[in-house]
Amino acid sequence: MSLQKFIEDFEEAVEDIEPNSLTAATNFKALEAWDSLAVLTVIAMVDAEYDLRLKADILKDCDTLEALYARVTG
């Protein structure tokens, strides 16, 4: 489990995101592809890969993928 793996998982979970296009500092909520559907697919990914029930509040609190990764693994 690593931040890099998390970024790859995120890229795969959200439709219309190119592989290797995001970084730890990416503000994922500013992405064009970030919508209510992306929220669901990321929740499903975190549940399946990280065994965590990702609350909507956590997504609201975080801006960067690094911050989200810290909350998922913290």
Partner: protein, 343 residues
């Protein structure tokens, strides 16, 4: 089924011209077409049409019905209940009990549970269960998170005493602390309708709704569904001492294809045993979605000889979720009826 059909492809304006987003919704969530009522048609009308078709198919006279149960969250009136209104319209006898159940997506299974208990306790020979909603009418058409999801529908199911012994196992659960995750906040006694409650507000995501429209916290409802549903199904088959593989079909509330495929994946069940095309054909029909999937996707098979072990499970507003495992022998009728052409 209402005959009027809407298609997400025709709603590019709702998505600000973002065709990519529509393509994502179609591919992942399975949104496509949905049936909605036209002004003046209600869930009671849809249920009445279904009930009349059922009564003809079953050679059922009004006097044969001992109880009518209506499951709806979109009744004709705040008083009296839909069951009383339909009791009159269907010419049911005065000896027939009539009551409503105020539940949504879990409501069909709750209705079956009540009907099953009434018949098995010996007080009723036949219970008519009418489950239907017109959620499209309480969703703001400018709320792109909800408007493309919901369709309307009404259903009629007969639960009657028979000579064939058939067991059924029910599980009914509630998490009332989540009551505000899926809610119409105003228009009842807690927050009566007023000019303020009708004011449309734009949320962070750009969706428009008033306090009298349906609100859903999509992330929390999704979390609830993928956590509680697989657990409820596993617990029920354990309780019934039935192997998961021995179930022929898992008919879930047709919320959307993404939720259903996630539930199926977590249960490690064969997706071909899980009907999930109903949403793309008709939309999420709330309390009518399970009967809609039974009729639309399994109707032909359920009306052929043989017995199928079927697990039905609904989940949603409440928060409430309910499952039943039952053996269905050959049904006399299990079909979709178009409301406009049935009379």
């Amino acid at each position: 089924m209402p005959s009027f059909e809407k298609c997400i492809d025709d709603e590019v304006d709702l998505f600000g011209g973002n065709e990519k987003q529509i393509a994502r919704l179609k591919k992942t969530i399975g949104l496509d077409r949905r049936r909605v009522v036209e002004p003046g048609t209600t869930a009671a009308d849809l249920c009445e049409t279904a009930a009349r078709r059922l009564m003809v198919a079953m050679d059922l006279l009004p006097t044969h019905i001992d109880t009518v149960i209506c499951v709806t969250q979109t009744p004709d009136y705040s008083q009296p209940c839909n069951a009383a209104v339909l009791h009159g319209r269907l010419d049911l006898p005065k000896s027939c009990a009539a009551l409503d159940v105020n539940l949504g997506c879990s409501g069909y299974v709750y209705g079956l549970w009540l009907a099953h208990m009434m018949v098995s306790a010996g007080g009723c020979e036949r219970v008519l269960l009418l489950a239907g909603d017109t959620i499209s009418q309480i969703v703001n058409p400018k709320d792109r998170a909800l408007a493309p999801l919901f369709g309307d529908g009404g259903s009629a199911t007969l639960v009657q005493r028979s000579e064939v012994e058939a067991q059924a196992w029910f599980s009914l659960q509630t998490d009332g602390k989540g009551f505000d995750r899926l809610i119409v906040p105003a228009g009842g006694q807690r927050a009566p309708s007023s000019r303020e409650t009708q004011v449309e507000v734009v949320d962070d995501a750009g969706n428009v709704r008033s306090a009298e429209n349906l609100f859903m916290d999509g992330a929390e409802i999704f979390n609830f569904s993928i956590v509680e549903e697989p657990k409820a199904v596993r617990d029920l088959v354990d309780y019934a001492e039935v192997e998961l593989d021995a179930v022929d079909y898992f008919v879930f509330h047709q919320a959307n294809r993404y939720i259903l495929s996630n539930i199926a994946k977590r249960l490690k069940i064969d997706p071909s045993k899980v009907p999930m095309q109903t949403v793309e054909r008709y939309g999420n029909q709330s309390s009518a979605s399970i009967p809609s999937a039974l009729c639309g996707e399994l109707g032909e098979e359920l009306c052929s000889p043989g017995t199928r072990r079927v697990l039905l499970s609904g989940f949603g507003v409440g928060l409430s979720w309910a499952s039943v495992l039952l053996d269905l022998s050959q049904l006399s009728v299990c079909e979709i009826v178009d409301c406009a052409t049935s009379d």
